[in-house]
């Protein structure tokens, strides 16, 4: 019964238990699906929204009007895309075996610890006083720490890298993220200038007709 309902989620759980074997199965035994990976990511977005909505005031002091789960979601999606594209652009040049699909899957499957910790930690936070909030942050921190570890292992497996090469490519990924952001800003400003130029041409014409 339980197996039938949660059977589809077997791979993420396996990745948590045995990261190397799990990611190996994901890529080389074709067990992973992009659909499930994106669903996992969607669960993370939902967890963040849940946390925004229900976290205790003692752990999340932000003003309610400054919290927006939708913009949070867009930010996370953009970050995911940016990281994956940047990593892909670096690893494609450094003999990485992972396709773009594999990178996205690895990162999304690695998010399972977040799915498993954010919601329980949020619920727990409502039963904690200020002195006990350490428990909440410990839980959240553990989730994030394991997530980062899994991303590392996942990309390492997917690209068939050694640890040192992985660290170097991750550093290069950060550099390429900066380059992408810079180029995007440049393009946006350029288009803005172009738009204002065309708009002023338009107004000139309008005033002369």
């Amino acid at each position: 019964m339980i197996k039938r309902i949660f059977g589809f989620y077997a791979l993420p759980m396996r990745i948590i238990a045995r990261p190397f074997a799990g990611f190996y199965a994901m890529k080389f035994e074709e067990k992973g699906t992009v659909r499930l990976a994106l669903f996992n990511f969607f669960l993370v977005l939902l967890s963040f929204a849940f946390s925004n909505q229900f976290a205790s005031i003692l752990v999340d002091e932000r003003h309610p009007l400054t919290i927006n789960s939708v913009s949070d979601a867009f930010f996370l999606i953009a970050t995911l895309l940016l990281f994956c594209v940047a990593n892909w652009s670096v690893t494609a040049l450094t003999d990485g075996e992972g396709r773009f699909k594999d990178i996205v899957m690895a990162v999304c499957y690695a998010m399972t610890p977040l799915v498993l910790t954010i919601v329980p930690a949020t619920i727990l936070s409502n039963f904690l006083s200020a002195e006990e909030t350490g428990l909440y942050f410990l839980l959240m921190g553990a989730g994030v720490f394991y997530f980062v570890l899994l991303v590392f292992v996942g990309l390492l497996t997917v690209h068939n890298y050694g640890a040192v090469k992985m660290v170097i490519t991750l550093l290069l990924t950060i550099v390429s993220i900066l380059v992408i952001v810079f180029l995007l800003t440049l393009t946006f400003t350029l288009f803005q200038q172009l738009y204002s130029f065309l708009y002023s041409v338009y107004t000139e014409i309008i005033f002369r007709i």
Binding site: I57, L58, E61, R62, H63, T66, F127, S129, A130, E131
Partner: protein, 493 residues
């Protein structure tokens, strides 16, 4: 039992006061014709408009005190002595003007006889009157602090200290003085960055008191790694800012202000007798440094520069901002209560405010530009805050609730009032309600306490049932298993 009686008395008193405040026509409830607007900051450091707490009552110049007095020129300090007289240090005219609260001139001190010699002041900058009616005058450019008795005759003086470690060209330029109950004298000296100079009862230099930590930027430290010796030598030194204002509170702790270049750290310190800063600032989102947001260029731009401070009853402090001429009042926990006055020419505004004092419940500001003293009197809103804070400070949280409730009715956005109601309910033991109010007032410290107590109450209510039912279920399960086993045995047999 006697405790309960007094608290009841206090409550009745508070109710009477609240009624008097509500019904009385003496005080304006909410002022709408002031040249400045009231505001405060909420928990998240966002600006919240609020009613005006103090309104300008009157302003007066030297001529209003006595027609024969020449106008104040560059007056530097104002001091209200323990006996109610007001002293103005008129720097430009090298005199001390003493008058009473009805604006009757009492005396003007131009100088004193020392060993038969007539001595005058040279641009004095500060004055302090002790309980024994001794006048300590910061006679800045004469590099001394003469101590006069109330009649104006010379007693003794503090001079340039003869201590090792002081530079040969050390100039003793006192600008501000405070004398505590034990007779220790604290002097702020211009161009001295080590701290406040501390003199003992006999006028001997004891040492420096209180230090301002230099805030080093990590980028500066980083660059130092790449600098040559000569570059480091030629670089400007990082010295702390000077102390600006001083005030003594009822526990002989000293409040000081100092300039803070970025406006992001506390500008106020509360120094204990060991010279350590013990200022409370519970909500660190809002620092004790005046305005949290300000323009970075243009007119009236830059961080607040708190140049004078006064300690008020109930652990409150008010500090004067030179940049925009505002007066910020904080409670003993570092919460901003209200802001009054501002830069301008209208009645109630100042051009170049230099000093601040309390005259009973009123606040007076000395405006050096006009040579004028502006007096502010509390509105009902301000008086209620003062009363509530005083009651809370003296431990009567429950008595303060009437003032807090009235404040909430006047200004729903005043978070401190919600927190005040919550704290009174916490004191009463009404934890569930306290949680609601403390949450609304964003008082996280007391919210946590109320929450913990409420949690315990709920647990105490639920847990017995849970355990009873649980034990019962386990018992039933045991009985079931045993009977089953017995039956099987019987069937087997």
């Amino acid at each position: 039992m006697p405790n309960k009686k007094t608290s009841l008395l206090k409550r009745v008193g508070a109710v009477a006061l609240a009624i008097a405040l509500t019904v009385g026509v003496v005080m304006p409830v909410l002022a709408d014709n002031t040249p400045f607007q009231g505001y405060t900051y909420n928990h998240w450091s966002a600006l919240v408009p609020s009613p005006v707490a103090y309104i300008p009552l009157r302003s007066f110049t030297a001529a209003d005190i006595d027609p024969s007095l020449v106008a104040f020129i560059d007056a530097a300090d104002i001091h209200v002595c323990p006996y109610g007289y007001i002293l103005v240090v008129d720097t430009g005219n090298n005199r001390i003007v003493i008058f009473d609260q009805r604006l009757q001139l009492y005396r003007v001190i131009y100088g004193f006889y020392q060993d038969g010699q007539w001595q005058t002041f040279d641009r004095p900058n500060g004055v302090f009157v002790t309980r024994h009616r001794e006048l300590f005058i910061a006679d800045t450019f004469n590099e001394r602090v003469p101590i006069l008795d109330w009649a104006g005759s010379f007693i003794r003086q503090l001079e340039t200290p003869q201590a090792e470690g002081l530079a040969d060209d050390f100039a003793f330029l006192p600008v501000s003085i405070v004398v505590d109950r034990g007779g220790r004298t604290y002097v702020i000296v211009q161009r001295v960055f080590e701290g406040i100079m501390n003199f003992d009862l006999h006028g001997n230099f004891v040492g420096y008191f209180g230090t301002i930590e230099v805030q080093r930027q990590w980028i500066e430290i980083f660059w130092r790694f790449f600098m040559t010796e000569t570059q480091i030598e030629r670089q400007h030194r990082f010295i702390p800012t000077e102390f600006q204002g001083m005030a003594l509170d009822e526990y002989n702790f000293i409040f000081t202000t100092n300039l803070e270049p970025w406006g992001s750290n506390n500008q106020v310190m509360r120094l204990n007798p060991r010279g350590e800063d013990v200022l409370l600032n519970i909500n660190e989102n809002v620092t004790v440094s005046g305005d949290q947001r300000f323009r970075t260029f243009g007119s009236l731009a830059g961080p607040s520069q708190l140049i004078d401070i006064i300690a008020r009853p109930g652990g409150m402090i008010s500090a004067l901002d030179r940049t925009r001429g505002r007066v910020y009042t904080y409670d003993s926990e570092g919460n901003l209560l209200y802001v009054i006055s501002g830069w301008g020419h209208m009645e109630g505004m100042t051009r170049r405010p230099v000093a601040l004092e309390m005259l009973g419940d009123d606040i007076i500001i000395l405006d050096a530009h006009h040579g004028r003293i502006v007096q502010f009197t509390p509105t009902e809103y301000g008086a209620l805050i003062n009363e509530a804070i005083y009651l809370r400070y003296t431990g009567d949280e429950i008595g303060a609730v009437y003032a807090w409730r009235r404040l909430v009715a006047l200004d729903e956005n005043f978070q401190l009032a919600w927190a005040g109601i919550g704290r009174s309910m916490l004191a009463e033991g009404n934890n569930a309600a306290a949680i609601y109010y403390l949450r609304r007032g964003m008082d996280m410290v007391h919210f946590s306490i109320a929450f913990r107590r409420h949690r315990l109450e709920v647990m105490q209510g639920i847990l017995p049932t849970v355990f009873n039912v649980g034990t019962g279920l386990i018992g039933l399960l045991l009985v079931y298993k045993i009977t089953k086993a017995v039956r099987r045995r019987l069937a087997d047999a």
